[in-house]
């Protein structure tokens, strides 16, 4: 579905991504793991076409995304749940939600309607009229996910959705990701919270300094404690 091959990318001079390659199959949840600053967010931004410098190959169903502006990439079926949520402060919750709404594409397995979203996140309906940034952190996270779903994506890029969330919310997010997975969405999940990540992902890529240093199935990672300690700095808390 989504394929990155030898991607180099960065912001100013120098590269943050140094020949990164990974693949997300249809319906798969792929974990993108690594320490702070490893380049997870940068990878996501590269896919969305937000990096000022970018080289290599990025393909969605074989179609190259390199050089396309973000809004075109979005229309091709990619959606980003950004780190730090980035809710629009001057819009209400409902406006935030509906801003990027699009009719579902024909080849799509899951079609997201407003009702569906409200079923998944009832709080968004309740709080619909207040400004988006007045929501609490967890509510904002839900809104961000919901907002991305409204663009009817084929692949969801999820950047640290558990950041700043209460344990119970982290669990909720985990459940939501499960639901999305069951619904057949392909997901690329960057996460520092290993427990959460391991509960949903099928395949994991560990990256450091912008290149993949290990990849394998979730089970392999779960089994390999050394790997966890060396590259991820084992998570002790949730």
């Amino acid at each position: 579905m989504l394929e990155l091959r030898d991607v180099y990318g960065g912001y100013g001079e120098g590269f943050v991504l140094n020949g990164l390659s990974l693949t997300v199959e249809e319906g798969q949840v792929v974990g993108l793991l690594g320490r702070n600053g490893a380049g997870k967010t940068t990878t996501m931004r590269a896919i969305m076409g937000l990096l000022p410098r970018l080289a290599g190959e990025i393909r969605l169903r074989g179609e190259s995304l390199i050089g396309l502006p973000p809004y075109v990439i979005s229309s091709k079926g990619l959606a980003l749940v950004p780190q730090g949520r980035r809710i629009f402060p001057s819009l209400t919750v409902t406006e935030n939600l509906l801003l990027g709404a699009r009719p579902p594409r024909p080849d799509q397995r899951v079609r997201w309607t407003v009702e569906e979203i409200y079923r998944l996140f009832p709080i968004l309906k309740e709080r619909g009229k207040i400004r988006g940034t007045l929501l609490s952190g967890g509510e904002q996270q839900m809104l961000t996910i919901a907002r991305s779903l409204m663009t009817q994506p084929l692949v969801l890029l999820c950047d640290e959705p558990s950041e700043g969330l209460a344990p119970v919310m982290v669990q909720r997010v985990g459940e939501i990701l499960q639901r999305l997975k069951q619904a057949g969405l392909s997901i690329l999940l960057a996460e520092q919270n290993l427990d959460l990540a391991l509960s949903v992902i099928d395949v994991a890529y560990i990256i450091e300094e912008g290149r993949v240093i290990w990849h394998g199935s979730a089970q392999e990672l779960l089994a390999n404690r050394d790997l966890q300690e060396t590259y991820l700095g084992l998570r002790v808390e949730v």
Partner: protein, 285 residues
């Protein structure tokens, strides 16, 4: 006797003009956070180009289109050249658009000289008619119609479609909007240019009433500022309401205490803002 049909028509036709000039400013100012002190200049350009075209072709409607398009071009230039760079830097925007205003002022004086120019309404709309027992110029009545029509159009575009939200979101976080599949820059460009277009159209439409001359830009700029702030930044409904309020107050005060007219509108603005700092229909900041 005090407020009869005629004063109403006068007031409302003036309101139409004010609305055309101020709605662009309101959207650009309120939604895009861009302080455009060259709004009056766009009106001026619309008026002058309209006048020239009418003079050479004799066609009023062509004049309207030309005036609007000319302002559009200048609007696009401002948008392309500066808008993105000065995002959210209010002071620099003031300085820059003031610079644009100076240039426009000088160039127009260079080309059209200092004499006041005046466009004649089309044959069809000349003269006056009786309306509920008062004599009113036909053109004014037509102006009200056009103003109302455009007001509805703009209101629909910005308050009933997602365009308004696109713009506000784009100002908040351009990257994120694009990630949602919206070409925000184009939205900005279109909305900004649309504002400029309306301004220029206002200029061409207003020339039969106000004429154009050096100084018209400053007059209209000030009135537009009042309307925008009174109505509330970024609110189309606010701009409509404020245009009407300002125009009617202005008309009535002018009739009964002419010396105080320009003072009255400002006093009104000050009063309203003191009581309601966000304007009549402004979103609380």
């Amino acid at each position: 006797m005090p407020v009869n049909t005629a004063s109403l028509v006068i007031g409302l036709s003036y309101a139409s003009l004010l609305f055309l000039v101020s709605v662009g400013l309101s959207v650009v100012f309120g939604l895009m956070r861009f302080v455009n002190l060259a709004t009056g200049s766009l009106y001026l350009i619309g008026g002058y180009i309209g006048w020239s075209v009418a003079r050479s072709t004799g066609n009023f409607f062509l004049a309207l289109i030309a005036g609007a398009l000319a302002a559009l071009v200048v609007g696009v230039l401002i948008e392309r050249g500066f808008l993105q760079r000065l995002h959210r830097k209010e002071l620099l925007q003031v300085c820059l658009t003031l610079g644009v205003a100076y240039i426009v002022q000088d160039v127009t004086r260079w080309i059209w000289g200092g004499d006041p120019l005046r466009l004649r309404p089309p044959e069809l709309l000349r003269g006056s008619m009786e309306l509920f027992g008062s004599v009113v110029p036909i053109y004014r009545v037509a102006l009200i119609g056009i103003g109302a029509l455009l007001a509805v159009l703009v209101w629909y575009l910005l308050e009933r479609t997602k365009w308004g939200a696109y713009v506000r979101a784009g100002v908040d976080d351009l990257e994120m909007v694009q990630c949602l599949g919206i070409n925000a820059r184009r939205v900005f460009a279109i909305v900004f240019s649309l504002g400029a277009l309306l301004c220029g159209l206002g200029g061409a439409l207003g020339t039969p009433v106000t004429g154009v001359a050096p100084g018209t830009d400053i007059q209209l700029q000030l009135m537009a500022l009042i309307v925008v702030v009174l109505g509330g930044l970024g609110s189309v409904t606010g701009a409509i309401v404020a245009s009407i309020v300002v125009a009617l107050v202005d008309t009535i005060v002018r009739t009964f205490w002419p010396e105080a007219s320009f003072f009255a509108v400002w006093a009104l603005a000050a009063l309203v803002l003191i009581v309601r700092p966000q304007g009549l229909l402004g979103r609380a900041a």
